[in-house]
């Protein structure tokens, strides 16, 4: 059923790179010890764990002790937000959480829960119509009662990049910890935590050709966190649970490759992505690019089509052999437009018709041409259905 299909949804997930899989395989059955055990088996596993930690630290330009392994990007976001908010309240009574209105749900719903059940005050930093934070709007919002600020590095739905380094500078001047969700960004952008001026940074391996089910949180030395998952005291007490060594090893290798091959991967994809955006905007009427035209993920193109039901469009594209997304993977087909698109000021009539096309290392020019040949007709059909 998948033989003749074209995958254009690399922001949803990526296949595991063969080189990554190679590195993982010995850790399932041969080197299987529990890294917390005293004996030789445990020591072998711990060696693999700590070597992976060093590798991740190198990719993020930080100390190995600043890396916490988690089960995914969402868990990293949760630990960062919950952990920092609760710790800061204990430390200095700060009671306010500040996030952008275009965060991934792992951040926005966590912040909303902290507001609903833990008495935090939740406020949003305004974004411009491309979904980017404006520094002059941020600075006055950084009041002393702010516990934590969270701003997404590269948005999953619209691809827009935020000026994290500048935001970090502003937060640091006020002594407020900054978290950034870099789950999408880590695949194509530098994630040097020193340059980015962040205190907390989330990544998830499956977005950059690593396995699903493993992620990491960078926690700058001196940043206090209250753990969410308590137990055996692993990860410096910040995240209990037996280490998933094969996956952690896989993530470390995948992140190393992503950063080492960052420039070449970007140079391969950018012309294809630009051709995609250019031709769609030229050839399809009543169509807008969402997100920033330039400051965006190099593999990411996202649009809204007026008078189109995005869910129906995805289905029709799938039937035609193209796997895309409306912005975030939503299987139940919610009829509600995305909060992110509404935050950009789009009307419901436009926001319902969203389409995200994300390229990857496997994408070929022929696939993009085929897609561009078919899309206008499919949009016409989808518009007929909507009316």
């Amino acid at each position: 059923m998948l033989a003749s299909k074209t995958y254009l949804d690399y922001a949803a997930t990526t296949p595991v790179d063969g080189r990554v899989l190679e590195k993982m395989l010995p850790y399932f059955s041969q080197i299987f010890g529990n890294s917390s055990s005293v004996h030789a088996f445990g020591q072998q596993a711990e060696a693999a764990l700590e070597s992976a930690r060093e590798q991740v630290a190198q990719s993020l330009n930080c100390q190995p002790s600043e890396i916490v392994f988690t089960s995914c990007g969402s868990e990293s976001d949760n630990l960062a937000l919950r952990g920092a908010a609760l710790a800061r309240r204990l430390q200095c009574g700060a009671n306010r959480i500040l996030i952008s209105p275009v965060e991934h749900h792992a951040v926005s719903l966590t912040a909303q829960q902290l507001a609903a059940y833990y008495d935090f005050k939740l406020e949003y930093i305004p974004v411009d119509p491309t979904g980017m934070i404006q520094l002059d709007q941020l600075i006055p919002a950084l009041t002393p009662d702010t516990a934590v600020v969270s701003v997404i590095y590269a948005n999953n739905e619209i691809g827009t990049l935020n000026p994290i380094a500048e935001i970090g500078e502003c937060c640091r001047a006020q002594g407020i910890p900054l978290h950034s969700d870099a789950v999408q960004a880590a695949a194509y952008l530098p994630v040097d935590t020193s340059d980015l001026n962040v205190d907390l940074l989330s990544i998830g391996a499956h977005k950059f050709y690593g396995p699903k089910g493993v992620g990491a949180l960078y926690v700058r030395k001196g940043t206090s966190l209250i753990p969410s998952q308590t137990g055996g005291g692993q990860e410096n007490g910040l995240r209990a649970g037996t280490h998933n060594i094969p996956y952690i090893v896989g993530m470390a290798e995948a992140l190393r490759l992503a950063q080492a091959e960052r420039i070449s991967r970007t140079e391969n994809l950018l012309p294809l992505r630009n051709r995609l955006i250019g031709r769609i905007l030229e050839e399809i009427p009543d169509c807008l690019l969402t997100g920033h035209p330039l400051q965006r993920l190099p593999n990411h193109a996202s649009f809204v089509f007026k008078g189109v039901d995005g869910n129906a469009l995805l289905m029709m594209l799938d039937m035609a052999g193209f796997a895309c997304s409306s912005g975030s993977a939503c299987k139940t087909g919610s009829p509600e437009p995305s909060e992110v698109l509404l935050a950009l000021g789009l009307s419901r009539e436009w926001a319902m018709g969203s389409l995200r096309i994300t390229l990857g290392t496997g994408t070929t020019p022929a696939e993009i041409d085929l897609f561009l040949d078919r899309l206008p007709q499919i949009i016409t059909e989808a518009r007929k259905m909507g009316s």
């Binding site: 059923m1 799938d318 039937m319 139940t332 087909g333 009829p335 259905m385």
Partner: protein
């Protein structure tokens, strides 16, 4: 081999639609599964009778087993606007509406059928027990299912020629036990759910509780009158009663009392003994003819006045304004305004209309 066509199967995760899909795959069709996500009251998703998260997961598993694509189509808003609104309005107008008819017309053979055709599918298929065929003149006919105990042609009588030409009923020739056996043979992971005749969006509730929440104006108490016009009790609101109903009248009487009529002008519930209940004629409106042609004159037919009622013999006379008069051979006791009267010539479903309220029983 050239596929005999692309067919969209309306799936529910239950035995019938799953076996329908499996049969079509076996017959060589290019099959795509679709499941409608229908409306339910906020917070009662898990109680919906057909599109719970569990049912969706089941339909996905069936599709994976059959190696066919599967999509969930959101129809919540249009379902609320058409089916639920008509249901509430029907009760407000003191009739007993049949939402399954509205759903088949507006949702299955409206919204979903339109989608199926727009994306280029040749057919829509469902797990209904009914059959269709073309007669010698090329006219499409809707027929009762071979298994008369499962026949669902009653709720399908609104289909037209164009829809029938593009609709498949793979189960029409099978008795239900055989369908269950086929599910096992196809190794389908379908749930053996108890069958229900209740309405999907009511969840665990009785329709009266639903009306109380969504149409509070129907809770208008008034007098219960006997057939002489004497007040013998109080009712809670006319919408809560159905013609022929015996339980729940709450009036002491030596002989059982039945609801005979709902008099909206006086907000009165008219009750009386069983022998007063029967009627030997009805008027139906918004009549639809499957053939697309209004019969030129009166004709003998068998008639069903509810989904589960027995066949009744009678004469159907076309009237102007899409109406018919039906004269029954023997009086029937449960002629209910708002339900459909559906006409058959033996196995062939000719069409049907909505039973009109009677005027002036007293």
């Amino acid at each position: 081999m050239v596929a005999p066509g692309h067919v969209i199967v309306a799936m529910s995760g239950g035995v019938d639609s799953s076996v329908a899909a499996a049969l079509l795959v076996q017959q060589g069709y290019q099959v795509t599964g679709m499941m409608l996500r229908l409306w339910n009251e906020p917070g009662t998703e898990a109680n919906n009778r057909c599109c719970t998260p569990d049912a969706m997961a089941m339909a996905r598993r069936v599709s994976a087993r059959l190696d066919i694509p599967f999509y969930v189509i959101d129809a919540r808003e249009i379902f609320r606007q058409t089916v639920v609104e008509a249901f509430i309005q029907g009760y407000e107008q003191l009739i007993t509406p049949n939402p399954c008819l509205v759903c088949n017309q507006h949702i299955r053979w409206g919204f979903l059928y339109q989608r199926a055709r727009t994306i280029g599918a040749d057919y829509l298929a469902t797990g209904h027990y009914a059959r269709s065929r073309r007669d010698e003149n090329g006219t499409w006919q809707l027929l009762r299912a071979l298994d008369s105990t499962k026949d669902q042609s009653y709720v399908l009588h609104g289909l037209d020629q164009e829809q029938l030409a593009h609709t498949l009923f793979p189960l029409g020739d099978y008795p239900k036990p055989k369908v269950r056996e086929l599910a096992r043979q196809f190794n389908l992971p379908v749930a053996e759910r108890p069958e229900s005749q209740d309405l999907c969006f009511l969840g665990k509730d009785d329709y009266r509780q639903f009306l109380t929440r969504h149409a509070s104006q129907v809770q208008l108490p008034g007098p219960v009158l006997n057939s002489n016009g004497e007040k013998i009790g109080e009712h809670a609101g006319l919408a809560f009663y159905t013609i022929g109903q015996r339980k729940g009248i709450r009036v002491a009487s030596p002989t059982p009392l039945y609801v005979l009529e709902k008099d909206s002008a006086r907000n009165a519930l008219i009750v009386g003994p069983l022998e007063k209940l029967g009627a030997n004629e009805l008027i139906a409106s918004s009549v639809h003819w499957v053939s697309g042609k209004v019969p030129a004159s009166s004709f003998d037919a068998t008639i069903k006045i509810r989904y589960r009622s027995q066949d009744a013999a009678g004469v159907v006379t076309p009237l102007p304004d899409q109406k018919v008069q039906v004269q029954f051979e023997n009086p029937l006791r449960d002629i209910t305004p708002g339900q459909a009267a559906v006409f058959y010539n033996d196995q062939v479903c000719l069409g049907g209309g909505i039973i009109e309220p009677k005027r002036g029983l007293l």
